[in-house]
């Protein structure tokens, strides 16, 4: 039977700045975050932390703590060891991490004991009374001291060395030879300081071992609930079907909610042993001092070039500070993540990079804070390096870039460090940025100001990043391949439910995933319910971080939708009484070729799937797709910062910041713009005010929001944004992902701008954060020189 119908509302949703479907609960204060959950009989866990960065544990006296009314238990590393839970594997797979310290402590604030009590306050009161006797040892506080191996930190490892691993890629001899033969070279030690993602919601868990079901339910601040479920199963021996992880609304992740933290294990173990729900929510101090830090790379960057500015070679050697345990959540074959993207947007004839990682007496981690697996570090290195090269060549930094960019016709571009960049038009995007910012006029203004001794700077960053991990050939986390998944079920009356293996922490998947499916299926995105985060119902996925969701799960959604559409086409053929080959999907309808009036909507098909299914196929209308991406995706951008420096106080004012991003297909421009604003603000914070610093005695100097600085609305500049459009040729909807681009690209733009401002003073490089004092000092040294 054929019918004609009016087009359904809002079917064409890709590219629309649709208002977010998740917002109604958040604006009403009805979001359900981890700490909003309570269960009957729930008790609280509070941790005891080490004041020493490196010490033997002589003894732990629980007596006073246990005597506090309301205290149920005090757990130490020894107690956990009895259940084989003293150590857990880190996501990296190369290492393991103490849950509660056994034998010694390895960083200040390391978790030493857990107190379980009937209220938060009592748990904290009792935690103060746990009496730990330490024998302090000398600390190791930087990777260069560590590599001397004078103080060996990890007694538990077979090789008694602080050196964790060596990694390299590229052609060492060829690169060395090319550098030696170059007309001009630059070499600089560029440090990307340790910082911390600090989402506003701290990490936490509500663990509930139910004697009724024999199942362990974990409400968990998790960016990757399925991966966490598998790890919990492997570590505890509890079968995966008996573990239920619910990742609820998450108040920001930024990589902070990827690792498995001691607080989770202690709480889960306590719940299993005690048979009651146990809740742990960390304090901000615990968040900053113990959870996954970011960066801490010391990079020696060398670039060679001909005298007319054509690059010849790139060499980067890095010392990586991993803290006390290698808990960097990297894919197995990539201990330094995707650092190989360090050739950036440029066509280097040859390149080589190597990295040595070391233990130190600091908190464990490394891969976090919107880093795309170390792409932030790599991008910073190359964009600072190119800036230094431009200065040495006395060449305009935009000219140097345009001269050395990979050209549009070179894509797909095999980089000398092993990536195949999918697509890009770097010249177009940079030219658009230069045009929009009024680059030539700014340089004229700068020249005028320099005559008067005023310090104004312009900084460019043209980054290419690698995201969307990743193809099963190369990528796995603890052996699990990095596919992602979508399951879509269309209901009889033409709406749908979509579940994915990703987990939004503010990126808006409830809206964007609905938009993808709506576009593919001709349904209203308002009527596609999106669910993530419940391991009982969502298909297995590797979660949301490293900007992988749109490239991988977004693709899975498109592919699952297309499977549905293919089945729907068969139903359409059956209903329209036409041969299958004559039925096509046109204008969001199934129509007989050449007969637009002989068409059916997906709504009609859906109803028929349940009421009048095709004779040779199952009733219902649903599909699942596990997407194994054929390649990473390579979003890129051109950022330009304009700054004015007050040389008396070292204060830097960011006068303008323009970000042009190219992430291929954009699902929801409003959401993408919001991601850019947020990431630029994080890059701004990193460039100017953020650091997790340790002094020489191993004391953490930035333990709360008084000392670890998050910019407010007053310091944060106004962001100007625009885009270009270079779709990914291998992605089903041409999308590349974009969440981390602004944090990848912006720090170098800020630093390049300040260095540009200070260049008349002969200053070439200052490490971040560019505090007032550092800038002031640079200005003074120059004037007194």
């Amino acid at each position: 039977m054929s019918t004609t119908t009016d087009s359904t509302p809002q079917t064409h949703s890709m590219g629309h700045s649709m208002k977010r479907k998740e917002d109604p609960r958040f604006i009403r204060g009805h979001g359900k975050y981890l700490d909003d959950f309570t269960l009957p009989g729930m008790v609280w866990m509070s941790l005891v932390h080490s004041p020493y960065p490196h010490a033997r544990i002589v003894k732990i006296d629980k007596t006073a703590a246990l005597a506090v009314p309301g205290v149920i238990a005090v757990l130490t590393g020894e107690d956990l060891a009895a259940h084989n839970l003293a150590w857990v594997p880190t996501f990296h797979g190369y290492d393991k991490q103490m849950v509660l310290a056994v034998g010694k402590v390895l960083y200040q604030y390391q978790e030493v004991a857990g107190v379980i009590a009937t209220s938060r306050e009592i748990a904290q009161d009792a935690a103060e009374l746990v009496d730990v006797e330490y024998e302090p040892l000398d600390p190791v506080t930087n990777p260069f001291q560590s590599r001397e191996d004078k103080i060996i930190l990890r007694d538990d490892r077979e090789n008694k060395t602080n050196h964790i691993y060596h990694w390299e890629v590229g052609k060492r001899e060829e690169t060395d030879a090319a550098l030696a033969a170059s007309d001009v070279t630059i070499k600089e030690r560029i440090v990307f300081q340790r910082c911390h993602p600090a989402p506003l919601e701290p990490c936490g868990i509500l663990a509930d071992m139910s004697p009724n079901t024999g199942r362990l339910t974990l409400y968990l601040t998790s960016q990757a609930p399925h991966a966490h479920r598998t790890v919990v199963s492997l570590v505890t021996g509890i079968p995966e079907d008996k573990i239920h992880i619910i990742s609820p609304d998450i108040g920001g992740g930024f990589g902070n909610k990827v690792p498995v933290y001691p607080g989770y294990v202690v709480s889960a173990a306590a719940s299993v042993v005690l048979g009651v729900p146990v809740k742990w929510v960390e304090t901000r101090t615990e968040n900053l001092t113990t959870t996954g830090f970011a960066r801490d790379y010391h990079m020696d960057v060398e670039i060679g070039a001909s005298k007319d500015g054509r690059v010849t070679a790139l060499k980067v050697a890095t010392a990586a500070d991993h803290g006390a345990f290698d808990a960097a959540a990297d894919p197995t074959k990539y201990p330094a993540g995707l650092f190989g993207i360090v050739t950036g947007s440029y066509d280097f004839p040859t390149a080589f990079t190597e990295l040595d990682a070391y233990f130190t007496n600091k908190a464990p981690g490394g891969v976090a804070y919107r880093c795309s697996f170390r792409v932030t570090e790599a991008s910073f290195a190359i964009e600072r390096g190119m800036e230094l090269l431009a200065r040495k060549l006395n060449m305009d930094p935009s000219e140097l870039r345009l001269k050395n960019f990979v050209r549009k016709d070179q894509f797909p571009y095999p980089s000398p460090l092993g990536f195949v960049y999918d697509s890009g038009d770097y010249h177009l995007t940079l030219r658009k940025a230069l045009d929009l910012i009024g680059y030539d006029d700014l340089r004229k203004e700068q020249a005028e100001k320099r005559k008067r001794g005023e310090l104004m700077g312009i900084g460019i960053s043209t980054f290419t990043e690698a995201v969307g991990a990743g193809p099963s050939k190369h990528f796995d986390i603890m052996g699990i391949k990095m596919f992602d998944s979508a399951e879509i079920r269309v209901h009889p009356t033409g709406s749908a439910i979509l579940r994915a293996g990703t987990k939004s922490q503010g990126q808006g998947h409830e809206t964007t995933w609905a938009q993808i499916a709506a576009e593919e299926l001709g349904l209203d995105p308002q009527n596609i319910m999106v669910e993530e985060g419940d391991t009982d119902t969502a298909p297995y996925g590797l979660g949301t971080y490293a900007s992988r969701s749109t490239p991988v799960a977004g693709a899975a959604i498109a592919m699952a939708s297309r499977k549905i559409r293919e089945k729907a086409r068969k139903i359409a053929a059956h209903l329209l009484e036409a041969p299958l080959d004559d039925v096509e999907w046109t204008n969001y309808k199934f129509q007989v070729k050449g007969q637009p009036d002989n068409a059916l909507t997906m709504q009609q098909i859906a109803f028929a799937a349940y009421t009048n299914p095709a004779p040779d196929s199952e009733p219902g209308l649903e599909a699942t797709f596990y997407y194994d991406p054929p390649n990473l995706t390579f979003p890129y951008g051109a950022y330009i910062a304009v700054v004015d420096v007050d040389r008396e106080t070292g204060a830097v004012k960011v006068r303008r910041f323009l970000a042009i991003d190219d992430c291929g297909t954009v699902i929801n421009p409003m959401i993408v713009e919001g991601q850019i604003h947020g990431g630029l603000t994080e890059g701004f914070a990193i460039a100017f005010m953020q650091e997790i610093a340790y002094d020489e005695q191993g004391n953490n100097l930035n333990t709360n929001f008084t000392d670890y600085l998050v910019p407010t609305s007053l310091e944060t500049p106004h962001w100007e944004t625009s885009s270009t459009y270079t779709p990914s040729p291998h992605h089903p909807i041409g999308a590349k992902g974009v969440g981390e681009s602004p944090n990848v690209g912006s720090p170098a733009a800020f630093v390049n701008a300040v260095m540009d401002a200070l260049s008349p003073l002969g200053v070439t490089h200052i490490d971040m954060p560019l505090t007032r004092e550092k800038v002031w000092r640079a200005c003074r040294q120059a004037t007194t020189a």
Binding site: I27, G29, G674, F705
Partner: protein, 163 residues
């Protein structure tokens, strides 16, 4: 100690310790979990509520006992008669939230900001919100949201009187 607090128009009487912080009282004793806790140095503002309709306060830096006899408005109290407050509508319209964790505090601080300054400039909004942190939005759309709400909350011009 016993406290008697009116929250969002409803009077509650509960037993608390003097050291119970208002934020936890609201969340746990009263089940109003819209007010959040994000730091331990009164820096982040995700806990902001309104006291006696006139003061934005960081509820993590106030004792529940201090609220005895007073009125507190939390984010749950913004909806009036089932209708979204113009600020809530504006945050939604302008994409002024992503993870939503800072949103209740932003809404409550903004409500007092607009009460004291019904037509703020962008600079005044940025200044007025500088006690509330956000990690997701970079503040730009939050500013737009407050501007939209300010416009929506202006008293409408009076109808001309027929002569």
């Amino acid at each position: 100690m016993k406290v008697s607090v009116t929250v969002n128009g409803t009077k509650y009487e509960r037993e608390v310790e003097p050291r119970t912080l208002l934020a936890y009282f609201l969340r746990e004793a009263l089940g109003l979990t819209g007010t959040h806790v994000g730091c331990d140095t009164s820096s982040c503002g995700v806990c902001v509520v309104v006291l006696d309709g006139e003061r934005a306060v960081k509820s993590c830096t106030m004792l529940a006992v201090m609220a005895d006899g007073h009125q507190i408005t939390t984010v749950e109290g913004l909806v009036q008669g089932g209708a979204l407050h113009p600020l809530q509508q504006a945050f939604w319209d302008q994409h002024g939230l992503q993870c939503g964790f800072c949103t209740p505090g932003m809404l409550m601080t903004s409500s007092i900001l607009l009460k004291q300054n019904p037509n703020p400039s962008e600079a005044e909004i940025r200044e007025g919100l500088s006690g509330n942190l956000c990690r997701c939005t970079g503040y730009q759309n939050i500013v737009k949201a407050v501007q939209q709400a300010a416009g929506a909350m202006q008293p409408q011009p009076a109808e001309p009187v027929a002569s």
